[in-house]
Symmetry: C2
Subunit: 624 residues, 2 copies
């Protein structure tokens, strides 16, 4: 039950049978995912015809009856993957049966192409998403095999993969898909089956990209990363989800083939992207126009696209890089993105979603319809479904496999990367983690079972502890400060030993790099890994989030119910006496500011659960 299973690399992943999340933040999210979100997605796909497409294809009425966009099949597959990692779902067997019936004798499977009245197979590699859909099919088949033994879906996936290898192999079409995704899936299938040709095909797809075989579209070939070969690129660019899926696939290929230079290329791109093209939340992709990264430091909070799926893809990439290198900065990035992007998308009830995750919402917008698809970035509220509804199933599969992200092993012992109330067992070691993280910063690790020889317990000390030291308490009671990175304890542990990590959870002002022009003169509040925001529903009547000012010489403090209070926050009246032209001499008078008792901030991931509202993460400081 290992979601990502490299055959080599610095760290070894654990399976979902080895890690159990037993309480706290993620347990709650995972419970809602399993009991509400999976059904919600299935119901919607039935309603909008995406599951029905497979039946329509079998029954010869697909030309007339097909519903959804060209990539609708992929979301059915992602749902099946989520169901597999979640331990199964009653709807899965029938779905798999329908899908299997729709597969053509040569392994081709796509409800949008190739049948009478439809466009021919592979006639539109730029936008057709056929290989992308296979990728999700194959990934679902792999998940089914790992979670419950190889079943029908895995066979369908293998037939599809064989068809892809035959059609796009060295002697086939010299093409790639406009949307990378199949690369990771083919590598996983190779890992599952031991079949070299799936890996070879993935490597071929990675190497083919960047040479301009896809058409030059309005957004440029960078949109689908066909502008520069993966090995030569210095930063992620173009459509964020495409870029991140491709990078994840390149890591998979690099790891399996021992290609150090390819791995190093992706690490370089990741470093530049994280240092210059990532939001405080971990969100990636600034542009609405083409859902793409912006240039370096172009990170407008109010036009943040920060697509949910880019968050999912970023976690996938970070996880792969962590396994390959063991470097805790990749786990830092995954944590940031999990708490502030992936956890932000679904509503508290798990039945509506943010497609995009803006850091500043200026108008409350309208309430999305409960029974119709919504535009992608229209309202301040989450919507139950979108015409392009890739995020619900992407969140669902991520939450389902999340326990696998907590820990790894290597020849020296166990590494803890993410903190949750959990039980972990591997290599003759059993650990009990007790914590209310991220509400509380104390993580206790009890050794329940241990071999009789020395081994190393490694704990990630989050990068966000910069300037506010964390401490580690050894079984013998020794307490020491630990710097951001990795804290390791090597010894002959005994059952009952307890190790305690104490993380500093006081809320803190965060300042942006001055090169991020869009947030100059503002600060944000972070509490542990969790980014906070001001939401209009918490303001006194007549005040707007856009007229807030805070004083960073004060300190934010913990408030009730996981809120943070920024004392000394100032609220200015809104501009009813505004000037007719909003630019003027430096000495033009400003509207007066009034002191407020204290500004309530809430975790960013929790916003917009109390009706339409405005919101901002970056809070202007007192000056201009």
């Amino acid at each position: 039950m290992v979601p990502v299973a490299p055959s080599r690399g610095r760290l070894r992943p654990l399976g979902l049978d080895q890690v159990r999340i037993t309480g706290g933040f993620w347990a709650g999210r995972r419970h809602i995912n399993a009991t509400a979100t999976l059904d919600h997605c299935h119901d919607w796909m039935e309603r909008v015809g995406w599951t029905g497409n497979f039946r329509a294809a079998v029954e010869g009425r697909i030309e007339r009856d097909r519903g959804g966009r060209e990539f609708a099949d992929s979301d059915v597959y992602k749902l099946l993957e989520a169901m597999a990692w979640a331990g199964g779902h009653s709807a899965a067997p029938a779905l798999v049966e329908t899908i299997a019936a729709a597969q053509e004798p040569d392994g081709y499977l796509n409800t949008a192409y190739g049948r009478p009245g439809q466009r021919p197979r592979y006639s539109d590699l730029e936008w057709g998403h056929e290989l992308y859909c296979y990728g999700h099919l194959i990934q679902a088949g792999v998940a089914q095999a790992r979670a419950g033994g190889e079943g029908e879906l895995t066979k369908v996936a293998r037939r599809a993969a064989d068809h892809v290898c035959a059609t796009f192999g060295p002697d086939g079409i010299e093409g790639i898909c406009g949307h990378p995704q199949i690369e990771t899936a083919l590598v996983e299938l190779a890992r599952l089956t031991g079949e070299q040709r799936y890996l070879d095909q993935a490597a071929l797809f990675v190497d083919r990209r960047g040479h301009g075989t896809l058409a030059d579209i309005e957004f440029g070939r960078a949109y689908y990363q066909d502008d520069i070969p993966v090995r030569e690129a210095t930063v992620l660019r173009g459509h964020a989800v495409r870029a991140l899926y491709l990078a994840a696939g390149a890591v998979d290929v690099a790891v399996e083939t021992g290609d150090e230079s390819l791995l190093a290329a992706v690490v370089r791109q990741w470093e530049a992207t994280v240092a210059r093209r990532t939001y405080l939340t971990g969100g990636m992709g600034a542009h609405h126009r083409d859902e793409s990264f912006g240039e370096d430091f172009v990170l407008p909070p109010d036009r943040a696209y920060s697509e949910t799926c880019a968050g999912v893809a970023s976690v996938m990439l970070s996880w792969r890089l962590l396994l390959a290198t063991g470097d805790p900065r990749f786990a830092d990035q995954a944590e940031r993105t999990l708490f502030n992007v992936v956890a932000t998308s679904p509503s508290a009830d798990g039945c509506s979603f943010f497609y995009t995750n803006t850091l500043h919402r200026r108008s409350p917008g309208t309430v999305p319809p409960a029974d119709a698809e919504s535009p992608r970035a229209e309202s301040s509220l989450r919507a139950p479904w979108f015409e392009v509804s890739c995020c619900p199933t992407n969140v669902a599969r991520t939450l389902a496999l999340l326990p696998a992200y907590l820990a790894t092993t290597d020849d020296d012992g166990i590494q803890l990367h993410q903190y949750a109330d959990a039980e972990i067992s591997a290599d003759g070691i059993a650990l009990r983690l007790r914590t209310d993280y991220p509400v509380d910063g104390q993580v206790t690790v009890r050794i329940d079972r241990t071999p009789d020889h020395p081994w190393t317990l490694s704990l990630r000390v989050p990068a966000w502890t910069e300037g506010a030291p964390a401490r580690l308490v050894s079984p013998d009671g020794a307490r020491r400060t630990v710097a951001p990175g990795t804290a390791a304890l090597t010894r002959r542990f005994r059952p009952g030993d307890e190790i305690r990590l104490e993380l500093p959870m006081a809320p803190r002002w965060i300042a942006p790099d001055p090169r991020i022009d869009a947030v100059r003169g503002t600060v944000a509040v972070q509490r542990g890994p969790v980014v906070y925001c001001a939401e209009s529903v918490d303001l006194p009547d007549g005040h707007e989030t856009d007229a807030l000012r805070v004083d960073p010489s004060t300190r934010p403090v913990d408030g009730p119910d996981a809120t943070v209070i920024a004392p000394g926050a100032l609220v200015t009246p809104d501009g009813r006496t505004e000037p007719p032209w909003p630019y003027g001499p430096l000495d033009r008078p400003r509207p007066p500011a009034a002191a407020a008792a204290g500004l309530v901030l809430v975790p960013y991931h929790s916003w917009a659960n109390r009706g339409p509202s405005t919101m901002r993460v970056w809070l202007p400081t007192g000056g201009r």
Copy 2:
């Protein structure tokens, strides 16, 4: 030769035969326009097949041979309009002949629709642009009639307008065009011909809009202003050019029908748009995705779309509002937009153009191809042509008719709205304006001819003199301070009388409204109406525009060759030691700043004439 000729309103426009620009900034621009830009546009349209479309239609090969987008016809018409206002062009007669030949017997004329193998007429009102194209055809026909007497093009335009009235009249298709534009043109044709039905049709189009007759597209119906009736809207929204053309048409209808409430509605929208949705340059439209306005105060400089055509349309709207109301703030807005958007688009040689006018360019980009169409917003350099090449001809027609924007008359006398070295004659009065504005702030008005009774000379005192008073010197030598708005002198003038307006031209820091989040903590420099910018070609080697800091406690001063020097400007080294994560505690150390001798700033309209460069208008101040 009056470009916009309302039959009533507060002020009366002058014709191009009554105002002559004799020197200075606009004389140079107009000379290049007449001697280079018109030929350039004509050559490109021949090359890319837009003029050839009419020939292909006549010869029955349009299905196979048509070039350009669905609205390509409109640019041929805009070029003919520009040629008419410019006093004619040798290529015009043949063009008109071809166009006339392509008109169908019932008056329909469009090379993209209705012929064998093409889509049916009016089958796509949302995107088809057929009525939009008529609008430009009619406007060109009006221009030809006013500039040189009614010729063949005017007849073609009347036949087309008659066809539109028959097809879209009260008993016809209850539709509107996805792109407003025909409204102003029909009113002008009614003014030219005295035919009421053209005005009625324009009024019908204005009233029909906003009721959702067009389809609800991905961008929403606000994109083409079909979300809210014109009379009820409170701010301009959606696609900027569409919104501005529609508003201009609504003003035309309101003026001709005496509809005060419609006029008041547009004035309200203009006020809100200028106060909250306009760039310092006068540029409008912040979003790349749909070329639309953003929400209030969403004005990111580095993602400014600020389409050239929106600048042209904004000047058209301001001019109409000025004529209707006499309020000088509309002339202020026109001046700002003319100097900082319209004048920015064309290169110094008049043969390449900015489609969009960003206020912050972070990467120099590549050199656009000299012989191929360019993407709309890719390079730091102007491109010779675009697939959607609406801006070159829009700039050309604006420069050609620009003298008409300088002055008006009313029953009391003459009003001067824009300043240039010029000769003006109207109502028995002849004026000689001598000035090197905007390089120099002194404008001398000599009375060369005057009636023998008292009349009033009104001079606009620009809004940009806020905080730096202007002075007016009467013929008797009396010198007084004049506040922003209008300065009027009423007397019995004598030939030889001289009036002098002294405008304060010292460069000044401009601060943005604190609600414009994207430019918090920055200042800009304006010198008179001209916005300045820092361009990388003026920086010492190794420095980037993105690492500039200025100290607003110093004063910018005039430099050589129309430059401004910001003494005390600081230049920080770029971030070669940048942190791996660009957010951190408030006390995280910053890279050191080094004092620089002085930062050279150039007029924004002149940037990117010296090779690829980076640029910024808003300059970060010393703090964070």
